[in-house]
Every structure is written in structure tokens, then in C-alpha cells.
């Protein structure tokens, strides 16, 4: 199980704006990020600063280990295709690596899950809040572009660039202030804004921007002649912004230039501004690290909103699941496979219901009947639910699990030392090595690599052993007779059976019903794939004719 511990705090976490965890956490490497920000601000090349900081970011404590399910669930593909933000029709490039880590490692703290659900719910419910949220994200991406130098072309006045960065920072702080009326923990943005705005450093920043924009106000009176041309231009007044702490007398400004020259800097107003920018930035630089982390948080919610929008656009409903005790019923109505949605296919929703959640369920049915897709859906649903996101179902009642273990695919590898049975046995061994009590287990076609009689023995052994760990297990199998016998005997407690529901012509409906399938309909599959006696005979005759012709 992965242990994730935030690094020693260089920044007081209470000063952070963490939208993912109940107790704010500093997840990025504050020291290296701060250094990268300073270098980026001063004009050095620090491309990929945000990406690098978030890729290296730690995550909140979690009992889940992505290695046990990420590959089998195609988690990276799911994140990149389904959790894609959609802001006013535009799809920004997101940091999927960081998002994958967040989604793949549900927080151990249930309060954080609740916090995420409340925030996501508010964003989904309120268009205005969502609009502000997206605006904040866009401002932050602009800030990122400026800092990383990806938005500029050619030479650029360094002072102008730094002023733009500070202007964007100010804009963001002001935008955050608008979340004061949020009902969820989006209020944290407002708290952050208020705290920053109350600092001396921020006031200095505002004054500097005002100093840059308006040192003085000059009023003219313009006289225009009958021909429309300017005839007179009378100076009415010149008013210096004397209340601005950066405004000094012209003599003082000249002396400042001379002083800089004597200290080894360039001589000029630009250098004076550069020093002032440096000093002002120094005051607010600590807040920039918080923004780096915030970008990852924003993408988490924008990705989730993107998934919701995509599902709804496909006519599918999503919901926040009801988390209940494992002894209660499992309800998943309108469950669909989001991976299919990501591949522009039309998933067929199904309803899954069990009398209790903590059971071992054997799923039987014909090939291509949707068993594996169901397993994927169940695992992703559990993962999203415990990450604080919506699940791909119209209605869901689930129980939290300490971890998830998925074994869907067993590909042959060139360097494997064991045969198919050996690999199967190793798979079972690995499962029990990492499986804690109460975990969710997803197994596809257990013991399919050996002869049915011996396989059934191992199968039964596994089921019995699993029972000792009280898991929530879903296992597919083609050992129909064996499954039928287990269903009849009922000698294993908490064992449940689901079968693929077939249509009138024995075609798969991608729906599931209670019970054990009586046939795998291999002949149907063989016919669909062209493996019938007639078809094979045709192929043989064709090959013989071709052989005679060449001889």
C-alpha cells in the first residue's frame, strides 16, 4: 500500500488554499517550486514549472494503491478522455498526470471526500459559480503561461512582463474574493483572497501597479475648430498620485537612478522599476506556490465537470453515490462504462442490484455479453465515488472500501517463466498478498487457463479464502456447471450470482439478472466470428483449389 506523506512544511498550510482536502495540505515541494517561481519571474527559463511541481506533488494519505488497478482500468486513458475540461467550448490542455494521481488515490479522510462532493455539486448546480471558477482557472493558466514564458514570442520588456504577472496575480486574488458567498468550501478561495489582500505586500503590489499605470493625472481642455481640427490644448491641471507610496519627487527619481548606477545596476527608470518589482514580488512570492497547487485542484473539478457534461451530452446520467454500510443493498441503476464514453461509443446502461454490498458475486454469461465491461464499470464507479466525484450511474448506493484490486487482463509476456496455469496461480498468489479485509476485488475469468475440473477446485479454494476477508468481490467465469452447483448447494456464505440477460434470439442485451447462465453460447460467438463447419469447409476447399492451380 502506498504511503504518501507531505514534505516538511516550508509554508504554513493554513495559508494555502486547498480545495481537495478538509485539512489543507502542502503537496508540492515548496522549496524547489519557490525557487523555480523566482527564476521564472526574473525572466529565467523555467518552462514546465507548474507541470513539474504537480507531477512531483505528493498526494493525501490514501489506503488505495493504484498499482493494483490503474493499468487494468486504463486509468490514464479514462482521465485523459473522460475528465477533459470543457470551458465555453474550449478544451484546455490539462495536467493529466497529476489528475490521474488524484483520481487514482482516493483520500483516506472521508471528510475530504465530502468536501469534494460539495464543491463539485455547487459547481454543477450554479452556473455563476462555475463561471467564476472557470474564469479563475483561465486567469491562472494565463499566469502560468507568463511565468513559464510559453505565451510570449520574441523579445519582451522584462519589466512589462513582470508587471503583467503581478497584474494577473492581483486579478486572480480579486476573482477569488468573489467566492465569499459560496455554500461549499469554495469559500476557501475567498478566505485566501481576504488574507492576501490584508497583507502589506499586497497593498504594495497594488500601489506599484497603480504607480506604473498612473503616476500622475494630467487634465487638458481641447478646443476644436469648425473643421474638426484641434486648435487649442490648454493644460488644466497636473495631479500626482501623492497617496501612492511609490511616488516621489522628480529629483528623488533621478537620484534613485544615480544610486542604482553607483550600486552596479543600469542607469534608467526601467532599472528603478525592476528593483521595485523585485521588492514587491518578494513580498507575495509565497502566495505563488499556493497558486501552483491550486491549478491542480481546479483541474480536478473542471475534469469532473467535463465528465458530467460529456455523460449528459450522451444521454447518460451521473450522480453522487449514497455511501452506506457494506451490509446494506448494492444499488447501481443506469450504470454505464465511462471508458466506452471516452471512445465515442454508446454505452448501454444497466441496473445492478444485490441484497448486500459485501458479497462475492459470480458473473456468468456468453462471450461478448458485457461481463468485462461490467467489471470495469464497477471498479471505476467505486474509484470515482471514493475520490469524491460523480459515478457513471443514475442512482448508486455503495459502501466505502479500503482498497481495490483488479485483475482483468493477463497478457502473455515474452519473459514469463510459467505456463498459463502457472501465471494464473501467481495471479491468485499476488491477489492475496495485497488484499486487506473488506477490499473490493475484481477478477475476470478466474482459472480459465487450465482444464475445468482442476480449475474448478482452485476456483472454489479462492472463493472460500476470499470469504475470510469479507471482500466485495466480482468474478466472471465460464465454469457454468461449477457455478450452478455452487448456487444449488449454497454452502458458501455471501455468494451471489449474476448472469448476462439474453434477448429473444439469444443475443446479449448487456443487462444482468440474478442467477447462473446455462450456456456460454460459444456457437453464437463462433458463428459471429465465422467459425462454423460450413465456413471452415469453404476455406479448406478454397485453399485446395489455389494449391492445385499453382502446381
Amino acid at each position: 500500500m502506498q504511503k504518501t506523506t507531505p514534505p516538511p512544511l516550508a509554508i504554513d498550510p493554513s495559508l494555502l488554499v486547498d480545495l481537495l482536502h478538509q485539512v489543507p495540505l502542502l503537496r508540492i515541494d515548496a522549496e524547489s517550486t519557490d525557487l523555480a517561481i523566482v527564476i521564472a519571474f526574473s525572466g529565467g527559463t523555467s518552462g514546465g514549472l507548474f507541470q513539474e511541481a504537480l507531477d512531483k506533488a505528493s498526494i493525501a494519505p490514501s489506503t488505495w494503491d493504484p498499482r493494483a488497478y490503474a493499468d487494468d482500468l486504463f486509468l490514464a486513458r479514462f482521465v485523459s478522455t473522460c475528465l477533459q475540461a470543457d470551458i465555453r467550448g474550449k478544451k484546455p490542455v490539462m495536467m493529466t498526470g497529476h489528475l490521474c494521481k488524484l483520481v487514482g488515490s482516493p483520500p483516506a479522510d472521508a471528510r475530504s471526500v465530502l468536501l469534494r462532493r460539495e464543491i463539485l455539486s455547487e459547481l454543477d448546480d450554479s452556473q455563476s459559480v462555475r463561471g467564476m471558477f472557470e474564469g479563475l482557472y483561465l486567469a491562472l493558466t494565463r499566469l502560468r503561461s507568463l511565468l513559464e514564458g510559453t505565451g510570449s514570442t520574441g523579445t519582451w520588456d522584462s519589466n512589462r512582463r513582470q508587471l503583467d504577472i503581478l497584474e494577473l496575480f492581483k486579478d486572480m486574488v480579486e476573482k477569488m474574493g468573489a467566492f465569499s458567498s459560496a455554500r461549499s468550501e469554495l469559500r476557501r478561495l475567498s478566505v485566501f483572497s481576504e488574507r492576501v489582500q490584508a497583507t502589506e505586500s499586497y497593498r504594495a503590489l497594488v500601489d506599484l501597479l497603480r504607480y506604473d499605470e498612473r503616476l500622475a493625472t494630467v487634465s487638458f481642455k481641447m478646443g476644436v475648430g469648425a473643421d474638426g481640427r484641434v486648435r487649442r490644448l490648454d493644460l488644466q491641471s497636473v495631479e500626482e498620485s501623492t497617496d501612492n507610496q511609490f511616488v516621489g519627487s522628480p529629483v528623488r527619481r533621478w537620484m534613485a537612478r544615480l544610486e542604482l548606477f553607483a550600486r552596479g545596476f543600469k542607469f534608467g527608470e526601467g532599472e528603478v522599476m525592476a528593483r521595485l518589482l523585485d521588492a514587491v514580488f518578494e513580498g507575495v512570492r509565497a502566495e505563488f506556490s499556493a497558486l501552483v497547487q491550486l491549478l491542480g485542484d481546479l483541474e480536478f473539478y473542471l475534469g469532473a465537470l467535463g465528465f458530467i457534461g460529456r455523460s449528459r451530452a450522451a444521454g447518460l446520467e451521473v450522480c453522487f453515490p449514497t455511501m452506506v454500510d457494506p451490509s446494506e443493498e448494492l444499488r447501481l441503476f443506469g450504470l454505464f462504462n465511462p471508458l466506452l464514453l471516452g471512445h465515442a461509443m454508446s454505452p448501454v446502461p444497466c441496473d445492478i442490484g444485490l441484497d448486500r454490498i459485501r458479497t462475492t458475486t459470480l458473473i456468468t454469461g456468453p462471450n461478448s455479453g458485457g461481463k468485462t465491461r461490467l467489471l470495469q464499470s464497477l471498479a471505476i464507479t467505486q474509484l470515482l465515488a471514493q475520490s469524491g466525484l460523480v459515478v457513471p450511474a443514475r442512482q448508486a448506493q455503495l459502501a466505502p472500501v479500503p482498497t481495490l484490486v483488479v485483475s482483468l487482463i493477463q497478457e502473455s509476456e515474452a519473459d514469463q517463466t510459467e505456463g498459463r496455469l502457472g501465471m494464473e496461480l501467481m495471479r491468485i498468489r499476488a491477489l492475496f498478498e495485497r488484499l486487506p479485509p473488506g477490499a473490493m476485488v475484481i477478477l475476470d475469468e478466474l482459472c480459465s487457463g487450465t482444464n475445468p475440473s482442476e480449475g474448478e477446485e482452485i476456483f472454489e479454494l479462492v472463493i472460500r479464502m476470499l470469504e475470510k476477508l469479507s471482500p466485495q468481490a466480482f468474478i466472471t467465469t465460464h465454469f457454468l456447471g461449477f457455478a450452478g452447483r455452487l448456487a444449488e448447494k449454497k454452502n458458501i456464505p455471501n455468494l451471489r450470482f449474476l448472469q448476462v440477460a439474453l434477448g429473444p434470439s439469444h443475443e446479449p442485451t448487456y443487462q444482468f439478472a440474478s442467477g447462473v447462465a446455462t450456456t456460454s453460447l460459444a456457437s453464437h460467438a463462433a458463428a459471429r466470428l465465422g467459425v462454423t463447419g460450413e465456413k471452415l469447409l469453404e476455406l479448406i476447399e478454397k485453399n485446395l483449389k489455389a494449391s492445385q492451380a499453382t502446381s
Binding site: L35, V38, I39, S42, G43, G44, S158, E200, S201, A204, D243, N244, Q245, F246, V247, G248, R252, R253, M255, A256, L258, E259, L260, F261, A262, R263, G264, F265, V272, A274, R275, L276, D278, A279, V280, E282, G283
Partner: protein
């Protein structure tokens, strides 16, 4: 350390951050503390060097100006000292000389003997006073800038020597004795012609004592120019110039063209008329105007090629005296030495040239 970048309106923390930024302690790509220190030291060194150069330049300029003013004052003081005892007459010596010569360059006006020239004693006393001597060819006088050019070439000669101290006789031997003196030049010649100066001494150096030269000294700004003026002033024979300027009489001879068909000796002597003018400089009164013919044909072969000019000049002086005072006793022995022009006249008093 206070800075001009901070203001009283700033809070202490902002001021501190500005100070930190100025010190270069911040991590930054653009500036490193060492780099700033190095640049600041370099600029300080350059500034010091510039200040040193500027101060040096100013001191040097000031010293130069002091030197210039000191030298100018010294020049003006010397000029004042040298020109203090010169009156208007002395300063106008060139004008008066030019005027007298210009009068004589036209058609010869006829002989004239006036004032002191009528009496041998008075004439000798007159010659004993200070005078200016000039001799040149008529065509040279008439040329542009003639007076200056003639004056620059005109030296004391046998005529002046023999006029002041006439030879015992007109025999070649007696004339040669006086001619040798004239040919010696230098102190011997000066002692033989006391009180007489070349006009060149006045023309060349009197400008140094004029007011215009003083004004020029006041205008000059360069030390080198002032030093040159000082050198010029100090090296100039101002005493001679002033003495020449103070002269009472101007004795000048104008050699007319040699007569047609006359031969020229090796030293240029030939048969021609010589106009002799003696003018009182201050009043411009002509005291003496004579036109005599000189002819080297009487000179022996032995002396002719070397002393013809000197012998002719000396004999001309002797004949002038004789013409003036012993005309009746003058009898050419071997050849007519001087031919009187038909326009001979005698007046009881000096006549104005004009």
C-alpha cells in the same frame, strides 16, 4: 542604508525588501551580488578616474590661464616700458619716411640746398645728429611695397661713411681708405657712422611698440602665441628701433637707371645719376636735394672689380660736400666724376617737400 528608491510613505517591510533587492542578495538570473559589487567598484573606479582627470584638467587649465595672464601682464609691462618714452613723431616714423620717399620718386624736382646745408659748419653739426639712412634703386622704390623691400636690403655704405667723415682727397687711395671701413660692416662701421641707423631698424621693430601690437597681446588666448610674442619682443633690437625712430633727419639716396650703353662693373657699379635727399623728419622740410652723376670709369683696374661701388659711393659723398661748399675748387682730374643736372638751384631756406 538609506536609499532614494524608498519613500517615507513606505512601510518598514517594503523598505527592507527594496534594500535587499538593491544589495543583490536575492536569487536572480539577472543579477548576482558579486557581479553587482564588481560593476559598482568598476564604476566607482571609473568615476574616481574621471574626477581626477577633470580636476587635473581644470587645474591645468587654471594654471595655464594663470600663466597666460602672467605672461600677458609681463608682455604689456615690457611693452609699456619700452614704448613709454616714444612720442607720436617717433611712432609715425614709417609714415614720415614713406611720405618723404614718395615725394622724391617722381620727376626730379631740381637741386635744392637749404638751411644747414648752406654752411659747412652747420651741415657738419646737422650730420652729427641722429639720422636714418636709406639707399635704393629708383625702380625698386616704385615697386609695390618698395620702401619696405628697399629698407630691408639697404645697408650703411661708403657714401654715409665718407659724408660723415670725408676722405682727405678724391684720389683712389684716399677713397679706398674710407671705403674699407664701409666694407667692414659691424661695430667698425657703426662707430664710423655714429647716430645713423638703417631705416629697416625702425620699419621692422617699431610695430612692436605700437598700440595695435599691445591690443593684439590683449587678444591672444594661447600661451604659445604669447610666448612667441614675448620672445619676439625680447629679441628685437628695440633700442636701435627707438633710436631710429627718434632720428631728426632722413638721408636717402635714389639710384636712377644706368645710362644707356654704360657698362656695369662686377659689383654692379655703373654710370648713373644718384638723387640725394636730406629731409627733416618732424617737419618734412627738405634740406638738401641733389642729383649727381656717378661713373666708375676713373677707377683703376686693380680696384674696380672689387671696390667700384664703395669707391663711387665715397667719392659721391666727397663730391657732394665739394658741390655744396667748395664747388669752385672741384676740378675733375681724370674724368668727370659728377655731372650736374641743369636744374641746379639754391635757396636761402629749406623748402617743404610738398
Amino acid at each position: 542604508m538609506p536609499s532614494f528608491l524608498t519613500t517615507k510613505k513606505m512601510g518598514p517591510r517594503l523598505r527592507e525588501r527594496i534594500q535587499t533587492s538593491l544589495s543583490g542578495r536575492r536569487t536572480s538570473k539577472r543579477r548576482s551580488r558579486t557581479g553587482l559589487l564588481f560593476v559598482a567598484c568598476l564604476r566607482a573606479a571609473l568615476l574616481v578616474a574621471l574626477v581626477v582627470v577633470a580636476v587635473n584638467y581644470l587645474l591645468e587649465k587654471r594654471g595655464q590661464e594663470s600663466k597666460i595672464e602672467a605672461l600677458r601682464a609681463e608682455l604689456l609691462r615690457v611693452h609699456q616700458g619700452e614704448s613709454a618714452d616714444l612720442g607720436k613723431t617717433e611712432k609715425e616714423v614709417r609714415l614720415r619716411a614713406e611720405s618723404a620717399v614718395a615725394q622724391a620718386l617722381g620727376e626730379y624736382e631740381g637741386d635744392l640746398v637749404a638751411g644747414e646745408a648752406k654752411d659747412v659748419e652747420l651741415f657738419s653739426a646737422l650730420l652729427a645728429k641722429q639720422g636714418i639712412y636709406l639707399r635704393g634703386r629708383l625702380k625698386d622704390f616704385k615697386a609695390e611695397g618698395g620702401l619696405s623691400r628697399v629698407a630691408s636690403h639697404s645697408l650703411k655704405d661708403g657714401f654715409l661713411v665718407c659724408l660723415l667723415d670725408p676722405p682727405a682727397g678724391i684720389e683712389e687711395k684716399a677713397l679706398l681708405e674710407r671705403t674699407y671701413v664701409a666694407y667692414r660692416s659691424g661695430p667698425a662701421l657703426d662707430s664710423a657712422t655714429p647716430g645713423y641707423f638703417r631705416l629697416q631698424a625702425a620699419l621692422a621693430f617699431m610695430p612692436l611698440l605700437e598700440d595695435s601690437w599691445r591690443d593684439n597681446v590683449k587678444r591672444v588666448q594661447k600661451l604659445e602665441s604669447l610666448e612667441h610674442l614675448m620672445k619676439t619682443l625680447k629679441q628685437a633690437p628695440l633700442e636701435q628701433a627707438k633710436a631710429a625712430a627718434r632720428a631728426e633727419y632722413f638721408l636717402f639716396l635714389i639710384d636712377e637707371e644706368k645710362q644707356a650703353g654704360a657698362a656695369s662693373e662686377f659689383d654692379g657699379a655703373s654710370k648713373h645719376f644718384v638723387r640725394i635727399h636730406l629731409v627733416h623728419l618732424a617737419s618734412q622740410d627738405t634740406i638738401l636735394r641733389q642729383r649727381l652723376l656717378v661713373d666708375p670709369s676713373w677707377i683703376s683696374e686693380r680696384s674696380r672689380h672689387r671696390y667700384a661701388q664703395g669707391l663711387l659711393a665715397c667719392r659721391l659723398a666727397r663730391e657732394l660736400r665739394d658741390q655744396l661748399f667748395v664747388e669752385k675748387t672741384l676740378v675733375p682730374q681724370t674724368a668727370p666724376l659728377a655731372d650736374k643736372t641743369p636744374k641746379t638751384s639754391k635757396e636761402g631756406a629749406g623748402s617743404k617737400s610738398k
